[in-house]
């Protein structure tokens, strides 16, 4: 049986008095798109940087791609492509110059660099901008360049810290497509605050306060969450939402487009039929149509956030 | 202007500043450290200077001269047999000042004491010094000169031979207000200027830049608070801390270094307080043009280094080329240092210093006006 790509047991990271990560147990066996989600300050960046070999950590066991994180990580770093939260390439250098710089750092032979960079520039849509200074690119293009840069040396592990944060819609979709391609050959480990992206990951880990609170596929996590989700379709969804909040078993309700989204804690639910009945009787709008829906990523994360650490 | 809003702003600024142990330490520790540093360690007081002496005359008179020079403790005379040896020692840096007594010193003296007709050559000694250490050397030279003259006059007086013949009006230079040309009061009075210029500007610059970065400055601009209220709310609490610093430095300067202000204390504190406000306004202006605290610090430091050179704090302005002297007149620090020295060392009063005060007020008005504009600025 081959060694897992990532094997962490009891990983801990402290910054002076503050413990950023505690008791992290994580095993990743195959190449996939693996998402790290959780609130700001939960330790996502710290976890990603630790796995990428950039931080000193303490652990009972900490192996990434077969390398020990607590020992010399030079060889590991050569096999990792890392894209940090803020743009870290050279703004005065052009797209090609930046890639060439990285190639030289990795000692890529000229021919291989030419082929690989051409391929990546095509895939990211940056080919026409080869000579443009990186600082002159739009936010989305810069991110794509950073990703192309990380993929240049064909890393076995790609770590990205919120690569789509604040990026325009089209570029986000393109970045997602890029990563989908990569997951066939590499482990893609990333963090995101976009619910639709979390939903599309192969597996997720939810961090809160430095600890892993949940670990599983999106479907598995959704099944575990102790929330019932309802939608009340109405022409005045906002009024319905406000009224819904007054119901004793409703945890939260807000209008989203044409429906009021109502979250009910499983522990307090009076049963689906009763809830549906109550919801269609709510004041607000001229008509209301209530249905139960499967928990989505938002309610999943909400449910997970409620759990004590 | 609304007093209630101003009170609100003041309260917040005071709470934030006084609760921050780091800032408070800097605001109190730095002035004291600077005072002690400049007063003790860096003072240009002449003491135990190695004085090379080549006594070619080797006469009672010349020996008497050297003995007198040694007596005060200011100089440590070291004998050199030859002139060349003396000059070698100067070049190698073993000594920084030298005295050459010519072979015919005693004879000249003898002549001077009575036998010579007026107008003949008077006894001369040659003083050599390392001009490289200009301040020190300047002081040393002046001191030497006065000592030598005094000694010479004494020597001339001593021989009990008939009525003293007029040897001409001997001008004995004697330094008023600082007879031993002790550098310490000079430095102490200048330190106020240095600290109150550098530290004040630095603190405000960094403080405002941090507020801009944190977003609280924007938030403030969106409230009904006016630019004047914001300005006062920022600089009054800091001004209070620095005013306390002034008093503290005065007391430490007196108790530890023995330097008390010669002039009116209240006057000195008032002038200093006004200057503090002016400096704080300057800090505000720096902060408006800086994106990060690091940049603000850089700008303040870059500005302060010429300030130290040009304001007369360490180096006398009168020695500078004319164009530079005009430049120094543009620095508020120059005027404040002049004022502080005048009050501290010479006990000057408001009427005498009216022109300098006028300059300071003018600068103050201009800088504060400009600072107000930067607060109101809307990109």
């Amino acid at each position: 049986m081959s060694e897992p790509l990532v094997q962490l047991r009891g990983l801990e990271k402290r910054y002076g008095e503050r413990t950023a990560l505690r008791n992290i147990d994580l095993t990743i066996d195959e190449c996939q798109i693996f998402g790290v989600v959780g609130p700001d300050g939960a330790g996502k960046t710290t976890l990603l940087r630790s796995i990428a070999g950039l931080l000193e950590v303490k652990a009972r066991e900490a192996r990434v791609l077969g390398h020990d994180l607590t020992a010399d990580v030079t060889e590991l770093k050569a096999r990792v492509g890392y894209v940090p939260q803020s743009f870290s390439l050279y703004r005065e250098l052009s797209v090609l110059e930046n890639l060439s710089f990285t190639a030289r750092l990795h000692r890529l032979p000229e021919a291989e660099f030419a082929a690989r960079s051409r391929e990546l520039l095509e895939r990211t849509g940056l080919a026409p901008f080869g000579d443009r200074p990186a600082g002159a690119l739009s936010g989305g293009m810069r991110q794509k360049l950073a990703i192309a840069n990380a993929l240049l040396a064909r890393p076995a592990l790609v770590v990205l810290d919120e690569p789509t944060a604040g990026v325009d819609v089209v570029a986000r979709a393109e970045i997602w497509a890029l990563l989908q391609r990569e997951r066939r050959e590499a482990l893609v480990l990333w963090s995101t605050s976009y619910l639709d992206e979390a939903e599309a990951c192969d597996r997720l880990v939810y961090l809160d306060n430095g600890r892993i609170v949940a670990d599983g596929t999106p479907a598995a996590l959704r099944a575990k969450v102790p929330l019932e989700l309802y939608r009340v379709w109405s022409d005045d969804a906002r009024a319905v939402a406000r009224a819904a909040r007054a119901l004793p078993y409703v945890q939260g309700a807000r209008a989203a487009g044409r429906f009021a989204r109502v979250e009910v804690q499983q522990a307090r639910t009076p049963g689906v039929d009763r809830v549906l009945h109550d919801l269609s009787e709510l004041p607000g709008g001229t008509v209301r149509f209530a249905e139960q829906t499967a928990p989505d990523m938002e309610s999943t994360l909400l449910g997970l956030a409620e759990r004590p650490a | 202007m609304s007093w209630r809003r101003l009170r609100t702003l003041l309260r917040r600024e005071m709470l934030a500043t006084y609760r921050d142990p780091f800032t408070m330490t800097i605001l109190v520790a730095v002035p004291l450290v600077a005072l002690l540093l400049f007063g003790f360690v860096l003072s240009t007081k002449v003491k135990h200077m190695a004085l090379g002496v080549h006594d070619a005359s080797d006469s009672p008179a010349s020996r008497r001269l050297v003995a007198d020079l040694a007596a005060g403790g200011t100089f440590d005379p070291r004998p050199f047999a030859t002139r060349e040896a003396l000059e070698r020692a100067l070049v190698s840096g073993k000594i920084s000042t030298a005295l050459v007594i010519p072979p015919d010193f005693a004879r000249d003296f003898g002549r001077a004491s009575g036998d010579l007709a007026p107008g003949s050559a008077r006894p001369e000694v040659q003083v050599l010094y390392d001009g490289g250490e200009a301040t020190l050397a300047g002081n040393a030279e002046a001191f030497l000169r006065s000592l030598v003259s005094a000694t010479g006059a004494a020597l001339v007086e001593t021989p009990p031979r008939g009525p003293k013949r007029g040897t001409g009006v001997d001008v004995v230079t004697s330094a008023l207000f600082n007879p031993t040309l002790d550098g310490v009061p000079f430095m102490v009075s200048g330190t106020f200027g240095f600290v109150l210029s550098f530290l004040t500007t630095l603190i405000t610059a960094v403080s405002i830049v941090n507020e801009r970065q944190a977003g609280t400055f924007d938030q403030l601009q969106v409230t009904p608070a006016t630019a004047v209220e914001i300005l006062l709310g920022k600089i009054l609490p800091l001004g209070a801390v620095f005013a306390m610093d002034v008093v503290l430095m005065m007391v430490i300067g007196g108790l530890v270094l023995g330097v008390w202000p010669q002039g009116n204390v209240l006057f000195f504190v008032s002038v200093s307080a006004f200057y503090v406000l002016v400096s704080l306004a300057l800090g505000l202006i720096f902060s408006a043009t800086s994106a990060t605290a690091a940049e603000a610090v850089q700008k303040t430091v870059l500005f302060s280094i010429p300030l130290v050179q040009l304001s007369g704090f360490a180096f006398p302005i009168r020695n500078m080329p004319t164009i530079v002297r005009w430049l120094t007149e543009l620095l508020p620090a120059t005027h404040y240092i002049r004022l502080s020295r005048a009050i501290y060392l010479r006990g000057a009063g408001p009427l005498t210093l009216l022109p300098e005060l006028g300059f300071l007020v003018l600068f103050g008005v201009i800088l504060i006006g400009y600072a107000l504009r930067t607060i109101e600025a809307r990109g």
Partner: protein, 309 residues
């Protein structure tokens, strides 16, 4: 119209951050100003509140010419910037007292108002804490509470949910919707597309230019495949459905039928209600087209036509 701009432009050197923006905001509505990072959102909001002087164009807020008399609106507007402007070293309570003092709110009035806000925003147990000791979600909530302290008629929120955990985000939008229900006009910038569903009107800005300016439902009508209503579990007669939903398309699916409607009007909801009553065992599930799909199409169309939606 509580906010009106005409040809609002801001140039920094030869970079145009905002290009001839003309928008109108109706009183009492939640107005979403959407765009990627660097698209000009923050620059626009700063011009609207008088923090930044436009290069060209006019801005009128609540009848006041903000360019020439910015101070006149200050007591009527509340602002929460991207970096929540709470003073470090002061507790949340002290921050509240500070801002209240600037707006002339003190004593019993302040006590009453702050007491109510504290309750609504769930800040009671963190009131004495300093912002630097609190997680981003709570800081954001406190920031929002403080911006409404002086009961402004107009709220400007710049990316209020960026970097904030799911629970706080949910609570936030509930609070914002409550404010709107009470008559406050809320101007929000965000880069989370799904948040537009919480709003009444959307302005989508890309590279300083307006490319969409409509209600979310309108954008859905124009740029999406429409609402998909799954009808499963019992056979539903096609003609009956055609009768009840004249504007819809009917498709077959393995599990039953799918009804595609361009919009979801009250009439359609009432019809669904009737259908479910008529056909026992019929399960209805409505899918609302997600906004990121909508915006991808908006951007796609713009790429081909180069115009505004």
């Amino acid at each position: 119209m509580i906010i009106q701009t005409r040809n609002l432009t801001k140039r920094f050197g030869d970079f145009t951050a905002v290009d001839r923006l003309s928008i109108q905001v109706e009183r009492g509505k939640i107005f979403a100003f959407l765009g990627a990072n660097g698209s000009g959102k923050s620059t626009t909001i700063r011009m609207l509140i008088g923090l930044l002087r436009p290069t060209e164009g006019t801005v009128e807020v609540d009848g006041v010419d903000v360019i020439h008399h910015p101070r006149r609106v200050r007591d009527r507007i509340g602002y929460m910037g991207q970096k929540v402007s709470l003073y470090q070293g002061l507790s949340i309570r002290e921050n509240a007292e500070f801002y209240a003092g600037l707006y002339g709110l003190a004593g019993a009035d302040l006590e009453r108002r702050w007491g109510a806000l504290r309750e609504r925003f769930s800040l009671a147990d963190t009131e004495q804490e300093k912002p630097e000791d609190l997680p981003a979600g709570i800081r954001q909530r406190a920031g929002l509470a403080l911006s409404t302290l002086h009961a402004p008629r107009l709220l400007f929120l710049d990316e209020p949910t960026a970097g904030v955990d799911v629970r706080s985000r949910a609570l936030f939008w509930e609070l914002i919707q409550d404010e709107a229900a009470a008559g406050v006009t809320v101007f929000v910038t965000t880069h989370f597309l799904e948040e537009t569903d919480y709003c009444d009107w959307v302005c989508f800005i890309d590279e300083g230019r307006l490319i969409a300016d409509a209600a979310p439902e309108e954008l859905r009508r124009r740029y999406s495949g429409g609402y998909r209503v799954a009808l499963e579990g019992a056979p539903a007669p096609r003609d009956r459905i055609g009768q009840l939903f004249p504007g819809g398309q009917i498709e077959s699916t393995p599990a039953g039928l799918r009804l595609v409607l361009p919009t979801l009007e009250p009439a359609a909801l009432a019809a669904l209600d009737r259908l479910v009553a008529e056909q026992s065992g019929l399960r209805v599930h409505i899918e609302q087209p997600p906004m990121n799909e909508v915006f991808r199409r908006v951007l796609g169309e713009r790429a081909t036509t180069g115009g505004a939606a």
